[in-house]
């Protein structure tokens, strides 16, 4: 296990270096610069700014400086937000995105699994159809449409929740639900189909014939096995929710990190682009590793140390 994790960490470092390098060079060859605006700066001022941010140095010097900065976990000043460093942006924005993401993942998994189980147990009856109609809707309605829909009905028409912002728990409900709707639907379908598969297995029939109660069969023998695909999906889900929340964050005016992920690119705010990319990359690499480890714990057939999954 330790050997496996060590090896994975090494690969992670290598991936990270490749991501950093690729981002650095793609960013530099992209046309435009951080100081471009409709009102053009006098050339002397622009030259001054370039010197201040080290943009007048040759690329290899900039690249090397950047690597050193990452190792020291200091991403430098933001070009656009002069009152904050990139570390400030991450430290302030990420906890918000994380909390929202976790709330959404919790809703997606809890509701999704519940719907999936109900659908499987009531296979081809009305609860199954209802759950699957909901799932199809969840998958096909984009999260930003869902967001506007929730805002309109639950905030404006019914007045239960505030329209937007990040102030209290009530403020977090609508964005979390909007963010959770698609993965929740996906998890419900996933759970349902894998439950049905498990329920058709011989050992379930054996358990039934031994006279075990339905509840015991469901909890002890079915759910655990049926959840494996859901766990597999957790890696990309975490990734998707943490990096993909920018639309929801924008609609609900949430001061998360997602917005910086997008606006920094439009602003050519090099340090923010790099800082946020490195930060998210680490986060994603770690979440993928965690999912792989969780995989091994849930299904003992998968031997992590052997290096091959699902023999």
């Amino acid at each position: 296990m330790a050997k496996y994790i060590g090896k994975r960490l090494l690969y992670m470092l290598l991936s990270l270096w490749m991501i950093v390098t690729a981002t650095f060079f793609f960013m530099r060859i992209a046309p435009g610069n951080p100081f471009a605006s409709e009102k053009k700066l006098p050339p002397e001022i622009e030259a001054n700014l370039n010197a201040h941010f080290g943009l007048d140095k040759p690329w290899y010097a900039q690249y090397w400086e950047y690597l050193v900065r990452i190792v020291n976990w200091d991403f430098g000043p933001s070009f656009k937000y002069k009152s904050q460093t990139v570390n400030d942006l991450i430290n302030e924005g990420f906890p918000v995105s994380f909390l929202l993401g976790m709330e959404a993942i919790f809703i997606a998994v809890a509701v999704g699994v519940l719907l999936g189980i109900i659908a499987a147990l009531k296979h081809n009856r009305w609860p199954d159809y209802t759950a699957m109609i909901v799932a199809v809707l969840g998958i096909s309605v984009p999260s930003f449409i869902m967001a506007s829909f929730l805002q309109y009905f639950l905030a404006i028409k019914m007045g239960i929740f505030p329209v937007a912002r990040w102030e209290s728990f009530m403020h977090s409900v609508l964005p979390a639900v909007a963010l959770a709707s698609t993965p929740m639907a996906f998890i419900a379908r996933l759970t349902r189909s894998s439950m049905l598969e498990v329920l058709a297995n011989d050992y379930i029939k054996t358990a039934k014939s031994k006279g075990l109660s339905r509840g015991v069969i469901t909890v002890k023998h079915t759910i655990r096995n049926a959840l494996l695909p859901v766990v597999t999906y957790m890696g990309p889900l975490t990734a998707g929710i943490l990096t993909g929340s920018f639309v929801i964050e924008r609609i609900f005016g949430i001061p998360g990190l997602g917005a910086h992920f997008v606006t920094s690119i439009n602003n050519r705010d090099y340090t923010v682009i790099m800082g946020v990319t490195v930060f998210y990359s680490i986060l994603l690499l770690v979440s993928i590793l965690l999912v792989d480890i969780a995989y091994g714990i849930i299904d003992p057939r998968i031997k992590l140390a052997g290096g091959k999954k699902g023999e």
Partner: protein
């Protein structure tokens, strides 16, 4: 179906609330009260809630370079002058202004005013702030706004010393400013944010004074900065140390940062905001007509223009008749009525009517297709083409945005219909687009311009030199340059205005730019809210605002 959906959603909500509560939203739970209170805020009279769209990039007046920062700064810091309710500059920190006969030396008497920490506002606070911005080491992008002052440009570009800059504290209460040229709009400029003072004692002791709210952020304006939660909100409270505190009625202003027009309007409709739309926010275009029909929309023209620039260095736009043909063949009113819907004014001139009133009509009629065809024929002949079908397709460039795209498509169609010219559309991301325009890698491209100060010069001087930073048309005219140069030394306001008007006439005769429309600000505001002052430049001031 609907019933089933609504049952599901109520189920889902109850569930998610329960589940999310278990998931550890503890941090937020204590704030839970506030959400409920919001709805009742109308009972609490003097608390204004507005949207400022984004995080202000900097609240250091020397570093600020954008409208959002300017909006916040204008409420918390006060310059020598302030643009009054009537749109004219009035004395603010300056109690009295004396102008020399040659109009190049201004002597300001600073009034007895205090910073929020009790320090007196002195002439030195202005000298410090202006020289700080001009110091090349501080990388102030807007330092060029101070170039009207003697020696400022040289100091900022490293060719002169900061000591030689023509701004001096004669004593604590007297500030003397020497200008390069007589600048009739200088008292407008002293209200602009780059000219705001900074508490020199605090700033010298702590270079990071402007990065957060707190005791370092001292203010001399109508409001204090009491909270700055980055990317989320800014809270201002009435300043008791402000010299004109009696006039200020609002107790607090909450400025939130929502970057989505639909959300902004929804929050307004839900009573969570007292103002939605320009100048600090935006309204969704789709909602404009409905708001207008309800009589809720307020529209105000501002000093800004939306242009199509021609690259006059390439065929066919190196020909003035072709440029005129393209400019005449646009139906501006149709674009405004069908696409923009914000009651903008069709532009047939380059200086906004807020500065030259007669420009409401402009230099030629809108949508003059007959004239356009004549110009086209003449131009084609001059270029050696028989008719429009021989003319190679023209490329129309714009940057990514739904509105720009719709306008470009409409104009593409008008040019095709009216002139029989093939037009290709070329869309690019903002930064890439600016690069194209700046390197003259385009034929026709859109660009907007919003005035920084209330003077026609601001809309003309960018076309002075072909290689000037904001010209990007390749156009240059000796006559135009001469008129601008004359206006710079003309001390008589009326004569100067006429010189600028003549310069504009030359510009419109050569037509390096096809003006499309003059901007307007559109907004909705809470019923009881009065006296929020939006200037002709689109700057908002809450000094006089109050709820009735």
């Amino acid at each position: 179906m609907n019933k089933r959906l609504s049952i599901f959603f109520s189920m889902l909500l109850v569930l998610s609330m329960f589940l999310a509560a278990c998931s550890g939203g503890g941090d937020n739970a204590e704030d839970g009260k506030k959400g409920g209170d919001d709805d009742k805020k109308s009972d609490v009279p003097q608390e204004l809630r507005v949207n400022i769209n984004t995080e202000p990039p900097s609240l250091n007046p020397g570093l600020a370079e954008d409208a959002t920062s300017g909006t916040v700064l204008r409420q918390i810091l006060e310059g020598l002058t302030r643009i009054g309710k009537d749109g004219k500059p009035e004395n603010a920190m300056a109690e009295d202004v004396k102008v020399s006969d040659d109009q190049k030396t201004y002597t300001f008497k600073i009034r007895d005013a205090k910073w929020s920490n009790g320090d007196a506002v002195t002439a030195n606070d202005f000298v410090y702030a202006w020289k700080w911005a001009l110091d090349p080491a501080n990388n102030s992008t807007y330092a060029y706004q101070l170039y009207y002052i003697e020696g400022a440009e040289a100091a900022n570009t490293g060719e002169g010393s900061l000591d030689a800059v023509g701004v001096k504290a004669v004593d604590d209460k007297t500030l003397e400013v020497k200008l390069v040229n007589p600048t009739p709009y200088f008292l407008e400029l002293t209200a602009f944010y780059t000219y705001l003072p900074v508490n020199s004692k605090v700033a010298e002791a702590n270079p990071e004074w402007a990065t957060d709210a707190g005791e370092n952020y001292t203010t001399n304006g109508p409001f204090h900065l009491t909270e700055w939660s980055h990317s989320d909100k800014i809270v201002l409270e009435k300043s008791e140390t402000y010299w004109d505190a009696e006039t200020v009625k609002l107790d607090s202003i909450e400025m939130i940062m929502i970057n989505d027009p639909n959300t902004e309007l929804s929050m307004f409709d839900n009573g969570e905001l007292d103002w939605a739309g320009a100048p600090t926010g935006a309204l969704p275009t789709d909602a404009m007509q409905a708001l207008k029909d309800d009589g809720r929309l307020t529209t105000q023209p501002i000093a800004g223009i939306y242009n199509y620039k021609f690259n006059t260095t390439v065929e066919p736009f190196n020909n003035v008749n072709i440029r005129k043909a393209f400019a005449h063949a646009i139906n501006r009113q149709e674009i405004i009525d069908n696409i923009l819907q914000g009651e903008q004014l069709p532009a047939m001139a380059i200086v906004p009517p807020t500065m030259f009133e007669e420009n409401e009509k402009g230099y030629f009629p809108d949508n003059d297709v007959e004239k356009a065809k004549e110009f086209l024929q003449k131009g084609l002949e001059e270029l050696g083409y028989k008719d429009a079908s021989e003319l190679p397709a023209v490329t129309l460039s714009y940057n990514t945005s739904e509105a720009h795209q719709k306008i470009a498509q409409a104009i593409q169609d008008m040019w095709k219909q009216n002139l029989g010219v093939e037009v290709n559309l070329d869309n690019a991301e903002w930064n890439v687009y600016l690069d194209k325009i700046n390197t003259m890698d385009y034929q026709v491209g859109r660009l907007g311009w919003l005035g920084d100060f209330n003077d026609a010069m601001n809309f003309l001087e960018m076309y002075r030199d072909a290689d000037g930073g904001n010209n990007s048309t390749g156009w240059e005219s000796k006559e135009f340059q001469d008129l601008l140069a004359k206006s710079a030394t003309e001390a008589d306001a009326e004569a100067r205005q006429q010189l600028l008007k003549d310069a504009e006439a030359i510009f419109m005769e050569d037509m390096p730019v096809a003006p499309i429309y003059f901007y307007t600000n559109n907004w909705v505001q809470a019923e009881g809210l009065k006296d929020v002052v939006v200037s002709g430049l689109g700057d908002v001031q809450y000094k006089w605002a109050h709820f009735e």
